[in-house]
């Protein structure tokens, strides 16, 4: 029996057409646009100004608090502007724009490909380095990694969980990392174990990636404490709370964090970034991005410098298909639709998915037939139909008492609704309003 989470979930078509495409290095762009807020938390403070010459790996913006992250230059060249530019969220954000000139790296970064197995740093040195290198969660949520590695007083972790599930349809970047960068990634896992002072690490991978499961199982045979688990293909298996439940059968309490049940979850891509940061002193300045879609002529996985315009990735995969109706930053279940293809690849860009016109439009909304499918598929045990109705009627207190804040926005309810009702749209509205109410109560 494959492990899985016990409640809810859906199984959208997997469409992993880029899973066989080896990671390609995308050529350097002419200019990069690097937003100073690429993570959850406080935007960083710019450390460069117009006209400055920067090297690859040089700090562009300083972390401005504990929950924040340093931003480094992904290229060498001249800063032409520090200005507000539309980013992938559709809002204008302060960004550093650099004209690329050559590829000159900071001397402190070890660019050799030698595998460094020996972990010489202490736990606190590792956390410090992860923070300096601006590592954030690479699965898409972009939560600063050093925060997760700093266990609050009174809490303990006994097991580290590595998220290699990649339950979003289409996306294959984590899959390729696990296949092609397995050894580095596993050293990254050992570094994370040392930082958290845990003896055990579990890697969860959905069963539609048998090659990755096999490879990692083989490589971890001689690494005590690291175990690989195949998981049932069921969305949202990669949801943090669902993954913890599936692997170690612990339930993160409502409003709590994984550390409340003694665990910390990191993405496999983050483990690779941690390896590079700790062993090679390389800040987070590039990532693997899947570029794919039903009509895309060359679905691929690219190693991309952060700040590269999305349009350049699409060009490399054969250009925007004629029938494209929507371009998504991330996967089709939780990704954001882009309204502008010049936006930059950031730390959280796991994929660019091009959806054909015929699948890109919302269907007509019909009456709710109270079939209860939304409550059946909700992995958090919520009642999406009820939350939607209450939000429509602006009954915010009832929205709150019906646990809207527990929603993980996986979209299973909207996906499954036979009446094509925009359940998640209204639940988000409810969540936003309720969190404002909660904040105003605290003041």
């Amino acid at each position: 029996m494959l492990k899985t989470f016990p409640k809810g979930g859906v199984h959208p078509p997997e469409n992993k057409m880029a899973s066989g495409a080896a990671i390609e290095v995308l050529p350097l762009p002419k200019t990069v646009t690097i937003p100073i807020a690429q993570h959850i938390g406080a935007p960083s403070t710019p450390a460069v100004k117009r006209g400055d010459l920067v090297k690859v790996g040089q700090i562009l913006a300083q972390s401005s608090g504990f929950v924040s992250a340093n931003i480094h230059s992904s290229v060498s060249g001249k800063v032409t502007k520090v200005d507000d530019v539309v980013d992938s969220s559709g809002y204008k954000r302060k960004s550093v724009i650099i004209d690329v000139d050559g590829d000159e790296w900071m001397e402190s970064i070890d660019r050799s490909t030698d595998l460094i197995r020996n972990i010489s740093m202490t736990s606190s040195q590792i956390v410090q380095r992860v923070m300096e290198c601006g590592i954030v969660g690479m699965g898409g949520a972009t939560f600063p990694s050093h925060v997760k590695l700093s266990i609050p007083k009174g809490k303990t972790a006994d097991v580290l969980i590595l998220n290699g599930v990649e339950c979003e349809p289409y996306l294959t970047s984590d899959h390729r990392v696990m296949l092609e960068r397995a050894e580095e990634m596993l050293i990254g896992v050992q570094i994370l174990m040392k930082a958290l002072e845990v003896k055990k690490a579990l890697i969860g991978i959905e069963n539609n990636k048998p090659d990755a499961i096999e490879k990692l199982t083989k490589l971890t045979a001689d690494k005590p404490g690291i175990e690989v688990y195949a998981l049932k293909v069921q969305y949202p298996q990669g949801g943090e709370k669902q993954l913890i439940k599936a692997l170690i059968n612990r339930e993160v309490p409502s409003g709590g964090l994984p550390i409340d049940v003694g665990t910390v979850v990191h993405n496999v891509g983050t483990a690779l970034a941690v390896y590079e940061a700790v062993q090679k002193n390389k800040p987070l300045l590039e990532r693997v991005v899947t570029v794919t879609g039903r009509s895309v002529s060359k679905p691929a996985n690219y190693l991309v410098r952060l700040g590269t315009p999305v349009s350049q990735l699409i060009e490399a995969s054969g250009g925007l298909p004629e029938d494209t109706g929507k371009v998504i930053n991330g996967g089709p279940m939780m990704g954001k639709a882009l309204n502008n293809l010049d936006v930059a690849v950031t730390k959280g860009t796991s994929g660019i998915v091009m959806i054909p016109q015929d699948l890109s439009q919302r269907r007509e909304i019909k009456n709710c037939i109270r079939c209860a499918r939304c409550t059946v598929v909700c992995p958090m045990g919520l009642e999406p139909y009820l939350l939607m109705t209450l939000s429509e009627k602006a009954m915010w207190e009832n929205v709150e008492t019906n646990d809207v804040m527990d929603c993980i926005e996986c979209g299973s309810c909207s996906y499954t609704c036979p009446s094509d009702r925009p359940l998640l749209d209204y639940i988000r509205l409810g969540k936003g309003t309720v969190s404002k109410l909660i904040r105003s109560r605290k003041q």
Binding site: K326, K336, R362, K366, R370, T375, G381, Y415, T416, D420
Partner: protein, 333 residues
């Protein structure tokens, strides 16, 4: 490069399910029972079903178009289900004007007056049926005998349903075994060879539809199993206490509207609870009320009343029986 592209919040992918698929799936599941009704009751059952469906579609269309002034949604299949279910719940030789009247009450009062699909608290077909039963008790209880006069438009030969015969007989102090001798074998009744409403007679045909709906994941097993299970349990206790005074559980399950109610009417999504916990209580309530009405009530059959009564509890069940939340923190006592 920048051409007009759609922007909307996630998810950007949708499942293949639709209201039409759900509704026509149910219609398909009712076809075996309809064919059996035509086999046993002949051309009159066919006319009954056709008139009920056509009038249900007409009333829904007319009300949406001329009274509610919205885009008619009659093609979604829900009015066909209401029409078919109403027909299944009527004796096949009911006069046509009463069929149309029942259909009107079902659609206009039972469904559209609340706002249409998904808004009605009571099962519309049962609203129509109970309206007719109370208003026209004679016509509604003249059950044609199966397999006689199949080509006749109005079946002259009528008889009582097994449930009515048992009720009547026990009232006249007959012993149960002597009443049973006058009834067909259980195996015959299971196939549908007994007097009753057009679509309720064959437990077998209804079970075929049940299996199909489970296979297509249109319904879950909880409501039918718990409803029939609680009927069997309560009637079983009574039967064990006094086998000569109360009919046995098998008799209760294969006669009357038990199967039809459990599979097609109690499972109506619109009028049943949303959580599994709620569905179980709902189903047990129907089962218990059915047996109580059948054994102790004035009517020989109680499925329709039981379902309508429990329909009224659905909002309450939805309010108090929530699904178990993930990571629920037990409330301090």
């Amino acid at each position: 490069m920048n051409k007009l592209i759609n922007v909307s919040p996630s998810p950007h992918s949708y499942g293949n399910d639709s209201v039409k698929k759900v509704m026509y799936g149910v219609v398909l599941a009712m076809i075996p029972a309809m064919l059996v009704s035509i086999f046993y009751f002949g051309i009159s059952a066919l006319i009954l079903t056709a008139v009920a469906i056509a009038s249900a579609l007409f009333f829904e269309f007319a009300i949406q178009k001329y009274i509610m002034k919205v885009k008619p949604t009659v093609t979604d299949g829900s009015a066909i289900i209401t029409g078919m279910l109403l027909a299944f719940n009527l004796p096949s030789n009911l006069p046509i004007h009463l069929i149309i009247l029942g259909s009107f009450v079902a659609i206009a009062i039972g469904k559209m007056s609340f706002g249409g699909l998904g808004q009605n608290p009571f099962n519309p077909a049962l609203v129509g049926r109970v309206f007719l039963l109370i208003s026209f008790p004679v016509e509604m209880t003249s059950w044609p005998k199966p397999m006689v006069n199949r080509m006749a438009l109005v079946d002259a030969e009528t008889g009582a349903t097994p449930l009515a015969m048992v009720k009547e007989g026990l009232k006249n102090n007959e012993s149960l075994s002597s009443i049973m001798d006058r009834l067909p074998e259980y195996s015959e009744m299971f196939l549908g060879n007994l007097g009753g409403s057009a679509g309720e007679v064959s437990a077998l045909a209804i079970l075929v539809g049940f299996v199909w709906m489970i296979y297509r994941k249109i319904i879950t097993w909880h409501i039918p199993v718990f409803m029939l299970g609680s009927m069997a349990a309560l009637s079983g206790i009574l039967w064990l206490v006094n086998p000569e005074g109360f009919a046995d559980p098998v008799f209760h399950l294969i006669t009357g509207g038990a199967m039809l109610g459990a599979v097609f009417m109690a499972t109506d999504m619109v009028t049943s609870p949303m959580s599994v916990k709620g569905q179980i209580i709902f189903a047990v309530g129907i089962g218990v009320l059915t047996i109580v009405i059948r054994v102790f009530g004035a009517y020989p059959e109680g499925v329709s009343f039981a379902i309508l009564i429990m329909n009224a509890f659905v909002p309450l069940l939805n309010t108090y029986l929530k699904p178990k939340r993930f990571g629920e923190i037990p409330k301090a006592v």
